[in-house]
Each structure stands twice: as structure tokens, then as C-alpha cells.
Amino acid sequence: MAVLELDKVDTGYGEAQALWDVSLKVQEGGITVVLGSNGAGKTTTLRVITGILSPWKGDVKFLGKSIVGTPPHKRAEMGIIMVPEGRRLWPQLTVYETLELGAYTNRAKEKFSENLELVYQLFPVLKERSKQLAGTLSGGESQMLAIARALMSSPRILLMDEPSLGLAPKIVLDVFKVIEKLRDDLKMTVLLVEQNIHMALQIADYGYVLEQGRIVMEGTREELERSEKIRKAYLGL
């Protein structure tokens, strides 16, 4: 079943249209990727899903029901949780406080200790640093904390906005391993938006390619990897 569905969405900022006729589906328990270069509309797509931006036309469905008009905090309550681009951690809070705040939604409150254990198991370094301020973590640790914060809220679907951004290649590899683990071990549904197409394709189950606000291609990982267009334009092969 599709957990999340965008149906022919048009949107933009003020008068500038950023998305044209974007349709996509995120299947349960898989990693769906949206690929594209700078300015292709990847972040805009996520904003429509989290509700920060409303669609001009078209529909956004979560578990089969339209969520157009539902404010962002209510969507978070429903389980649509984002790991924002550039982490967006709260620098003056400790790691533990950040995780506490991650479990902000009502649905996550009861499962707090359970989730905390899970998160510490996934990221032992966060347990060691639980009393450290989030602003003092390294890039890789920050990304782990951002993911951990999202997991604390028991997400139904995890939206990830360019988790590789600004990280060293070795750390990027770690982050993608974690995302893969989330799917394989926790059966997490993930929508991953990435510029790092090479990496994203390695863990994707299904993918879409955005170009200048339009979906120009979609397919399974094998289909995308085989595509001439992707090989030439994005992978430089």
C-alpha cells in the first residue's frame, strides 16, 4: 500500500511556480528516492508533504486520505516526520534534551523509553554524549542526532532532506548504511531526497527524477541504474 501519495501537484512561492504536475507514491517499508540537482524542486516537494507549503493544485494523500489543509504539527502527530536539510538541530539543547523534544508528539510520548533504547542502540555515540550540547557535535554526529530525533517520534514515514549534505564521504557512507538499516531492521518507510545520486541509487527501492520542477523519469533501482539518461547526466558514465 502506498503510505504517501502526491497526485498531480502544482505549487510554488508567490508567483514563481516551482512544481508542475508532480505525482509520486511512497510504498510501505521501502526506500523511495527523489533525485535531482539543485533547484529541481526536491525540497519544495518535501515542504508540500510536511505542510509548510500548500499545493496550488492536486492532492496529497497519507494512508489514502487527503491531508491538504492539515497544519504541519498535526501531520507530525500523524507520523509524517522530517529530518530537515542541514540537520536543523537545537544547538543550545543537550543530546538528551533533543531526543526528549523529538518525542514531542502525543503518539510518541508513551513509547519514549522504548524509542530511546532503540536510538541508543542504533547510535551508541549519542548515549556517550547525551549530556553534551547539540551545537558541539561533529557533522556526522549531528546527522545521527537529527535522524535519532526523528526516530524518537515513532514516525510512520521518515522524510529525509539531503542527509549527505556537507558531510565527509566516509560519513556519508555511514549515514546511508543507517538508512538502509532503518528499512531492513525496523521496516521503516523512507522518502529520501538526494543530490548524491550515486549513493542514493544504491539503497533505493524505487526512484523518481525531478528536473526543473517536473518528474521526468521513474522506476525501480535497476531501471534507473540502466537508464542511459541517468548514466550520462548524473553519474558521468
Binding site: H73, A76, E77, I81, L89, W90, G102, Y104, S153
Partner: protein, 335 residues
């Protein structure tokens, strides 16, 4: 008994302890007649308004620069009520609690204004929000200057409402009322800081967009914090100007907001103990400089405040929070 020992352990943490000590100190000073009632009332007023502004500015980071508008609204509504409404006047004569009862009406009206305005202007961020609140302050100021003199042209010259002797209360009553106001606002600060609501406010302060997508109803919470803050500011304003015997358009002077901001910055933004520490330090500085260097006291105060903001932007409590004491990180115990 476990709930009792739990409560005891909770109250013995530094922040609640500080609140309790402050309240006890004022009570003792009052009983032993250590200083004049007026001095203590003004001192408590400073702490009360600092703690009120802390609810919005300290916790969410929104600088409500026109916040003195709520002092003015509270003070004017209170003064006009006791002037014209016989039962309100009779009620306030019954003592401190009576004053609080009348002042609550003024505070509720101020809170309603804040809620209505907050829904609109809290969409603005940073400097734009600060400017919008200044606009509100001036708007209300001009409404007051344009209407109050017409209510009673002979008495309210220049929009000043000077309370006649039939409306005045004893200094003991205003002292008690200010004491209650201060205790209420400090307790509210503490409860908010400890609550889920307070956690949400802190997240808004740190990164509002991140807070929103993590499920914090930011618009609702900001408005609620602003409304609470306005409520207590108006309460304190009503009692303070009653203590002074009347209110004039001076109540809308932005310098009052500056006082509040300076106090919470000295003490430490977003902490519960900050406004208390800031209030004590600021009141002491203000008083000492006024006595010893009259005329240049505000210049000296300004320089000191500038230095604090340059070199210690986290304030006293913020700095203390960085240190460890006997293996306990003060960050964890200082709210």
C-alpha cells in the same frame, strides 16, 4: 510518604529554592520592617515584569519591544475601574486580595488584546515582530491620549488619571498585592519551563521550522505565551500604578520595556532564575546609581548594560549553567 519526599526533593532544587527564598526574604523583610514598603513593592514589581516578559521573550526568543503597552492597559483599566465603578473601589479597599481581584479583570482584558494581536503579529519574525509590538504600543497610547481626556475633561487633563483619596488604598495592601503578583508570575514561569508547553517554546526559540515539523503547534504556543506574558505584565502594571497613586501616558514609555529586557538579559534569557537574579542586580544598580550619581545614573547604567551584553550575553544564570559544581553540571539543576 514517597510523594512528600519527592515533592521535597523537587522543591530543594536551586530554582524553586531561589523562588521560595525570595518570597521568604520579602516576607521576613516585611515582618521585621527592614526597609520601606515602597522600596519592597517596587523591587517586587521589577522582578514581576521581568519574569512576565521572560514568558515570551526568554522562552521563545521573540522580542516584544512594545510590551509596556500591557503595563499601560492594565494600569489604565484598573484606575478607571476604581474611579467609576463603586463595587470595584469597595473591593480594592478590602486589601491585597481585593486589589488582585480587580486587577485580574484588567489583566484579562490585556490578555485578550494580546491574544487578538498575537494571532496576527506572531506570524512575523525577528525585528518585524519587535516593530509590530512597538506599533501596538503607540496605537494604544494615542487611543488613550485621544479618549481618556474626554471621559472627564476636568479631572483627566493630559490623559492623566490621578486617583482621588477616595480611591486610594494603603501601602500595605499594594505591597501584599504585588507580593501575590510576583509569586504568581514566578510560579507560572517555573511551571511553564517544566511543562511540555515550555519544551515546545524552547524548541521554537532554537529553530522554529524544526519545531513545527517535529509536531510543536508553533502558532498556538507563541500566542499562548504572548497572552500569558501580557496578562502578568498588566497585573503588575495595575498594582504598580495604583501604588503610585495614578497613571499617566508615561506608562507607555518604551523605557519600561528596556528595563524588562535588561533585567532578563542580565539574569539569563529563557531561565526561570534569570528574571529573579536580573531583577535583584538591576534594582540594586539602578538604586545605587540613582543615589550616588544622580543625573548621570542612566548613562552609567547604559554603559554597564552594554558591557554585559557584549561580554556576557548569556547573563548570570547562563554563565553559571556552564560550570560544574561537585561533579554536578549546573546546567541540569539551574532552570
Amino acid at each position: 510518604m514517597s510523594s512528600f519526599s519527592e515533592l521535597k526533593a523537587r522543591l530543594l532544587k536551586p530554582t524553586p529554592l531561589l523562588i521560595i527564598l525570595l518570597i521568604a526574604a520579602v516576607a521576613v523583610a516585611r515582618l521585621l520592617n527592614l526597609t520601606t514598603l515602597d522600596t519592597m513593592t517596587i523591587f517586587m514589581y521589577f522582578i514581576a515584569i521581568a519574569a512576565s516578559l521572560n514568558l515570551i521573550m526568554g522562552f521563545t526568543g521573540y522580542v516584544s519591544f512594545g510590551h509596556c503597552v500591557f503595563l499601560g492597559i492594565g494600569a489604565y483599566i484598573y484606575a478607571l475601574m476604581v474611579y467609576y465603578v463603586p463595587w470595584a473601589n469597595a473591593l480594592q479597599k478590602t486589601g491585597g486580595l481585593g486589589i488582585i481581584a480587580v486587577a485580574l479583570i484588567a489583566a484579562v482584558i490585556a490578555a485578550l488584546v494580546a491574544a487578538a494581536v498575537g494571532l496576527a503579529v506572531l506570524r512575523l519574525r525577528g525585528a518585524f515582530f519587535a516593530i509590530a509590538t512597538i506599533g501596538l504600543d503607540f496605537a494604544v497610547l494615542y487611543i488613550v491620549m485621544g479618549t481618556v481626556p474626554f471621559i472627564n475633561p476636568e479631572q483627566f487633563y493630559g490623559a492623566q488619571v490621578i486617583l482621588p483619596s477616595r480611591c486610594l488604598v494603603s501601602k500595605t495592601s499594594t505591597f501584599t498585592a504585588m507580593f501575590i503578583t510576583m509569586a504568581l508570575v514566578l510560579a507560572t514561569n517555573y511551571l511553564v519551563r517544566k511543562s511540555r508547553f515550555g519544551m515546545g517554546l524552547v524548541a521554537i526559540n532554537e529553530d522554529e521550522d524544526a519545531a513545527e515539523v517535529m509536531g510543536v503547534p508553533t502558532a498556538k504556543y507563541k500566542t499562548l505565551a504572548f497572552t500569558l506574558s501580557a496578562f502578568f505584565t498588566a497585573l503588575a502594571g495595575a498594582v504598580f500604578y495604583l501604588n503610585g497613586g495614578g497613571v499617566s501616558p508615561e506608562a507607555f514609555d518604551l523605557a519600561h520595556t528596556v528595563d524588562m529586557i535588561v533585567m532578563i538579559v542580565i539574569g539569563g534569557l529563557g531561565t526561570v532564575s534569570g528574571p529573579i537574579v536580573g531583577g535583584i542586580v538591576y534594582y540594586w544598580l539602578y538604586d545605587t546609581l540613582l543615589v550616588h550619581y544622580p543625573g548621570v545614573n542612566l548613562i552609567i547604567l547604559g554603559i554597564i548594560v552594554g558591557l554585559i551584553i557584549l561580554f556576557a550575553p548569556e547573563g548570570v544564570v547562563g554563565i553559571l549553567r556552564r560550570y560544574e559544581f561537585k561533579g554536578v553540571k549546573l546546567r541540569e539543576v539551574l532552570e
